[in-house]
């Protein structure tokens, strides 16, 4: 297998793509599309989720993902595979204990005493360390690792923007709690990857006031914690059906009503008052919405990070749409 060195992308140095975004912006869709886009150049990609939502399974229309890497998409001929994994903290902890401490009896005792439950639901930070720790493990496999598949890239469908800095930084939060000991070392190692140029945190947004504000706050927080900010992906972008001039006229209410009526009549559509009024109102609302979107786009440009745009597809996202969005990301140079 030859990873495509020919068409360089904007993120060749990045191994771990963390995708975050405000709820409702389509972050899982974008993460999945990015995984497909990366795999399309022959890479082996792991797409993981950490919130137990089974969003990936729903998107790819496959049964709920277990705590096990499953291949969910494959390219023709030359390869290029997407594997998916739903990371669960409890399983990750048991795996971790078995891997590093060979805890047979004690591991069982931990479970029996409710420690596993305690550690993964209540103990601050531990859950997030386990989740990011598993991602780290997947990112650092090598030929010597037993039975382990090596990945060229990992895409993480991460918690939403409001929690992302804490999620990625929780290792240092935990490290503050655990000042010495192996878990602290583990936390430190994971932090090294997350703070390195091999990681990029991408933020998904839509062209609305709150999500853009949250994106800008998110970038600021990430930068403050020295976490590597990747791209902003503007999702659900409306098609432009009217040019700038027509939009101005729609807002000012001076679209050429008579000419429009003539056009409709010529096409055998009865230009009733209701219909034409309705069309003009729709045009004005569209123009207003576009105006707001342009303003939001200015805010996004001012953030000075690479930006990609994905179109709004009507009819809900299906598998075909994912491939289309992936192609869009490839064409724009993201993968």
């Amino acid at each position: 297998m030859t990873p495509a060195k020919t068409n360089r992308t904007d993120w060749d140095a990045v191994r771990l793509h963390v995708v975050t975004g405000k709820g409702g912006t389509g972050k899982t869709t974008v993460a999945a599309s990015l995984a497909l886009a990366l795999a399309s150049s022959g890479k082996t990609v792991l797409l993981c989720e950490v919130e137990g939502r089974q969003g990936i399974a729903a998107l790819f229309d496959v049964p709920p993902l277990p705590y096990e890497e499953r291949r969910i998409a494959s390219g023709p001929n030359s390869g290029g595979d997407v594997y998916a994994l739903s990371i669960e903290a409890e399983q990750a902890l048991l795996e971790y204990l078995a891997m590093y401490y060979r805890l047979g009896r004690a591991g069982k005792a931990l479970d029996r005493f409710g420690v596993i439950d305690f550690a993964t639901t209540i103990a601050p930070g531990v859950r997030d360390v386990l989740l990011t720790g598993k991602v780290y493990e997947a990112a650092h496999r090598n030929r010597r690792s037993k039975n382990a598949r090596q990945y060229d890239a990992i895409v993480l469908d991460a918690p939403p923007t409001g929690r992302i800095t804490r999620f990625l930084n929780v290792n240092s939060e935990l490290a503050g709690l655990a000042k010495v000991g192996p878990i602290r070392n583990q936390a430190d190692t994971v932090m090294t990857l997350l703070h390195s140029p091999r990681t990029a945190v991408h933020l998904v947004t839509v062209l609305e006031d709150m999500p853009v504000q949250e994106t800008s706050d998110g970038i600021e927080n990430l930068r403050r914690q020295k976490l590597p900010v990747g791209a902003v992906i503007v999702n659900l972008v409306r098609r432009n059906e009217l040019d700038d001039e027509a939009r101005d006229r729609a807002i000012n209410g001076d679209l050429p009503r008579e000419l429009i009526e003539d056009d409709l009549l010529a096409a055998d559509v009865e230009p009733t008052r209701t219909l034409v009024d309705g069309l003009l109102t729709e045009a004005r609302e569209h123009a207003e919405r576009r105006g707001l979107e342009d303003e939001q786009r200015k805010h996004i440009n001012a953030l000075a990070v690479p930006t990609y745009e994905l179109p709004r597809l009507t009819g809900g996202i299906d598998l075909g749409d994912l491939y289309e969005l992936a192609a869009e990301l490839c064409e724009q140079g993201m993968a």
Partner: protein, 395 residues
């Protein structure tokens, strides 16, 4: 979440859709028996705006309202006079004069937690707890803390309302959880933390009948020390010991809030957007509320596209647009008309899809009263905008 994994769907097993009952928002907010309205739903569906609009409308219709928001957009918060996060309700400037009133506040979860500790423990003990690193981490990053503190604050506001008569309606926004169900589980999760065998063991003296168990505990603490380092377990033990006396109080309060949510004076509003994910979450929520015997007022479908008027079908509009593209355009109007028709077709398609989604929801949950709120083409960030949303809510 474990609560969700093993759940069976609850609802009628065979249903033909006749008519979706309509949610009468004004009746709900005017009912003097309604004292608490909880707005819940997944992230990004407009919960905060909806809560604020409901609260404003109720206030201007004569109720004495306080709205508890979790994470409002900056400009919305500013317009409601809650720029600073001081965890106290403040009057919202600019509401219309009348019998009603509107206060608003933004939740500060750490401060709320601190206040609970301070009110429950002796000053010296409170200081000890507040300084413990384990407490500091728990109160600022435990994944359920925000949900739990929202419920705690609700309990406090209700108590204040009863005592002072300052409010007769509390509107609560819920945190943007990974799933809309989290906040219902928060009291339970905290309780199970406080009751957990592990916590009990940390507190158990190494003598008497507990000694048998502590033999096993030795293995456990040994393993934990190996993994976490000794100091973590020590901090944890100190914290648990200091917190122990508060445990009963905490559990009691959590239980009380849970009962308050089940009471008749409470109305749950499930907010959703006309999108598959949001409606799926809404369905889970509706079923969960039923299961917990919590009073569901209905479903609000936010940001619905407005049905285009004029009786021109989407397919026809698309065909005419193509026809116009292909004909000569001497006056330059064809391109505009075609654009308008495409917008029309697009909107028709969106409306069809949304109403299909809503009907699927209604078929599975035919008893849930529903209100559909049309999308605005502009953002809401002042009281006038909230008033407009309020009018749309009322239908």
């Amino acid at each position: 979440m474990s609560t969700r994994k093993n759940r069976t769907r609850i609802g009628p097993l065979a249903a033909r859709l006749n008519k979706v009952p309509v949610l009468d928002v004004d009746q709900m907010i005017d009912d003097p028996g309604t004292h608490i309205i909880v707005c819940c739903g997944s992230g990004g569906v407009g919960k905060t705006t909806t809560s604020a609009a409901l609260a404003l409308r109720a206030a201007e219709r004569g109720r004495k309202v306080v709205v508890l928001t979790i994470d409002p957009a900056r400009r919305l918060a500013q317009s409601m006079g809650i720029r600073e996060l001081d965890n106290t309700p403040r009057p919202v400037p600019g509401t219309r004069d009348g019998e009603g009133s509107l206060d608003a506040m933004m939740l500060d979860m750490k401060r709320t937690f601190d206040e609970v500790v301070e009110s429950q423990a002796s000053p010296e003990k409170a200081r000890q707890i507040l300084a413990n690193p384990f407490y500091q981490a728990l109160s600022s990053s435990f994944s359920g803390t925000q949900e739990y503190m929202a419920m705690e604050k609700l309990g406090q506001l209700r108590k204040d309302a009863l005592k002072t008569g300052r409010w007769d309606l509390i509107v609560v926004d819920t945190p943007p959880s990974r799933s809309a169900l989290d906040f219902l589980d928060a009291p339970e999760r905290l309780s199970s933390f406080l009751d957990g065998r592990f916590i009990r063991l940390l507190l158990a003296p190494a003598k008497g009948p507990a000694r048998l168990m502590t033999a096993g505990l030795g293995v456990v603490t040994g393993a934990l020390n190996k993994i976490l380092g000794t100091q973590v377990l020590r901090d944890m033990q100190t914290f648990v010991a200091a917190f122990d006396t508060l445990f009963g109080g905490f559990r009691q309060r959590a239980q009380k809030t849970f009962e308050l949510l089940q009471a008749k004076e409470t109305a749950f509003l499930v907010v959703a957007a006309p999108e598959p994910d949001a409606l799926r979450e809404a369905a889970y929520f509706v079923e969960r509320l039923n299961e917990e015997r919590m009073p569901l007022a209905g479903l609000l479908v936010n940001r619905a596209s407005r049905h285009p008027v004029g009786g021109l079908s989407g397919d026809r509009a698309m065909a005419v647009a193509e026809q116009l593209d292909a004909t000569e355009d001497p006056d330059g109007s064809n391109v505009i008309t075609a654009g308008l028709l495409r917008l029309h077709a697009e909107r028709t398609r969106v409306v069809e899809r949304e109403s299909h989604l809503r009907l699927r929801f209604a078929a599975a949950h035919p008893d849930v009263p529903t209100a559909v709120i049309p999308a605005l083409s502009t953002d809401v960030h002042d009281l006038d905008g909230l008033r407009l949303v309020g009018e749309l809510l009322a239908g």
